[in-house]
Amino acid sequence: MTLLGTFALWGAWLVGLWGAVVGLSGRWQARPELARSTVRSVHAVLLLLLVAAVALWKGLVTHDFNIEYVAAYTSRDLPDYYVFSAFWAGQKGSLLFWAVVLSIFSSLAQALTPRRYASLMPYVAGVTSAVIVFFVTVMVLGGANPFERLPFTPEDGRGLNPQLQNVGMVIHPPMLYLGYIGITIPFAFAIAALLSRRLDTGWLHAIRKWTLVSWLFLAIGITLGMWWAYVELGWGGYWAWDPVENASLLPWLTMTAFLHSVMIQEKRGMLKRWNLSLIVGTFLLSIFGTFITRSGVIASVHSFTQSNVGYFFLAFLLVAGVYSFTLLYTRWPSLEPDAQLESMASREAAFLFNNLILVGIAFSVLWGTVFPILSEAVRGTKITVGPPFFNRVNIPLGLALLALTGIGPLIAWRKASVANLRRQFTGPLVTGALVGLAVVALGIRDTYVLMALVLSGFVAGTVVQEFYRGARARNRMHGEPHALAALRLIGRNRRRYGGYVVHVGILFYFVAFTGMAFKVDQEATLKPGESTEVVSPYGHTYRLTHMGVSQYDELNRTVSAATVQVARNGKALGLMSSEKRQHFTMRGGQRSKSFEPSTEVGIRSDLREDLYIVYAGSVDGTEEAVYRFTINPLVWWVWFGGVVLVIGGILTMWPGGGPLPAPARPRDAGRSAEAEPELVGS
């Protein structure tokens, strides 16, 4: 099977190269059979990469430890679902996974894109094939072939890193990859539009679903990553501004900016250059993220896979960046806006400032991430840029973004009058002020927390007002109950109201983030039967009694479980436990420890706060346990916000019920692609 897998990779490389060269050269325009061949090469590459994927999975499932990758990331006693997910646990497998998923997306894009965009599709095939060829090149020529064999066959594999043996890691990487990979399709359409000079809004319509899909998967991937870090890493938080975390946030931020600014191009024919730059930038940031993750050039707690392939990504990043922006530059004169902004008090202006802040946050995160390298290059001094830096720079920007989240929907397109502004803003401003008074009455004085909660109230007021007014109108017209009217309102304009639901999700994130300002940490050393007390920010007193440590064997590990009896304000809440897991593998019939003992935290979660228990270790090999008890307010709202955001995203992209077509205007950018004459590519 490894031979088949390797042949399949080489086959995919050759066919992909054909598709890339023919597709990007534009020679297919004079020869329809070449155009068909380019598109078909995408499907052929998919078939070949699926063969390679099946070959690797077979090696994993059959424990073929002669394959270096299988031996490095699995063992005989690894649970089946982790054997399955080991496909993307390591560098080589994840590169193949990336290529396979991109290939699936490419084929789907070719199959699902309406025929009216047919003249773009060979270019799209060319771009996606070029990206796939790059990934396959890294595998077959960059020393990352997942089918590489060992000179001997070990009795058992090394097993999977215990921190990756978590259900979050089965789902989180694929979600993140789907987001990263999905960006390639809008990028391919952007390049296709530039190459073909078909720079109307046609390509934007063609990528609408793809941008939403990749944005949504990135959001899911980031949130799952936060959840994994919270439940698995044991430090009591979910976001540490680690370079790898930052790398996933960057394309999400620029994609979010694009999802807003694209509306301006669709409705007013403005920001064409900006939107193309955002799509190209987002793609480059997704490659940059991969470079950060793979190269180890910047230290990260998440860098489970580091090697020299990072420099392949750096080279690809440079080539793709130079090519894309040169192409954009050559088309610059064709990208004149069709209209001008008419007023500062307009939704276009609000969206522009929203874009400024989103891209500004992305820049500041990127700047902070690479600043240690820059500092070392300039001063020769190594420095660390950690959470204190990012919080100082980004919290004010985040608050500005939160404010614009509420402001944008309240302002009319083109120009809003004072009366219009007064009518729209009164309700949300009053809501924000009331929230502020309540927060002050509760004794909260932290400036940032106060501002975040006030602005959250303002955004909530905006969303509720929008839903209420729309539902009330339906109620008056049809006599529908308000709840039904609200549901039908969403159904009639899913993009708009789905977007508001996304805003609610973002709002929950912000509220949850404020909770971290009140986090309480306490360590304790307890013998069985001894207790300690922890006071939560809400004033509750937790009494935590150490019950003892039990040790037992499970499938591939020895578990040491420390159990704590929990009572809050004198009322028993039950037992919680935190574990140490010592994983082992079998060698020569003997158990051999494979990793250092890992920690499994105990978490009790409710709407207000999480009680987070970490069994740090034992004193002198006895049941006398050292614990860290953490109380994290409002963490539940992060996960709930993620769910709401996903629901909003799905609503937004759900087929049917789309927006009304934009009214035709002179020189309108909304001309459909089929109305354009066939143009010769570059």
Partner: protein
Amino acid sequence: MNRRAFLRGSAALAPLLVVRAGSAQQPLPGEGETGRLRDPSAVQRRDPTSELDNDAYIQALEKRLKCNCGCNLDVYTCRTTDFTCQTSPALHRQVMALHEAGKTADEIVADFVGRYGEEALMAPKPEGFNLAGYLVPGVLIVLVGGLLAWRLTRVSAPRPAPAPEPEAPGTADALTAEERALLDDALARVED
């Protein structure tokens, strides 16, 4: 108590009953003398914590200092998270020693910078070249924002023709949510 905690607790306690039946030497958790673990090597060895470990002042101070084991975490987070790390407990002991010697937080931080270099700080000091790290994003945003505002003000300056009435600017998008919903609905019925 949530289901997860309950299941974990149950799973953790169940084998203890078996152990008790088979071995009279092993006390049940929560009873009698502190028992020895069956396999002490399966758990990290820790020193007992002290009152100072929970001192908010010490915690805040250690969150300013980076552990140099390569973990990318601050000293406090590393020593209370990565229990395989030998470096952060040693750095913690240094902090405690300096604190007990009467040094202030800033003096302790300066001592760490003197020993381990500027990399010992979780965030660079806002001075010299580091100021670029702190200021460049904000300055750029303000500059671009200012430029944007200036241009918007220019392009939206009074025009020869009077601006249309804001209540009826001529597009569906300028309507209020209520008006928009009415229009959407009416058009949808026409389409049906």
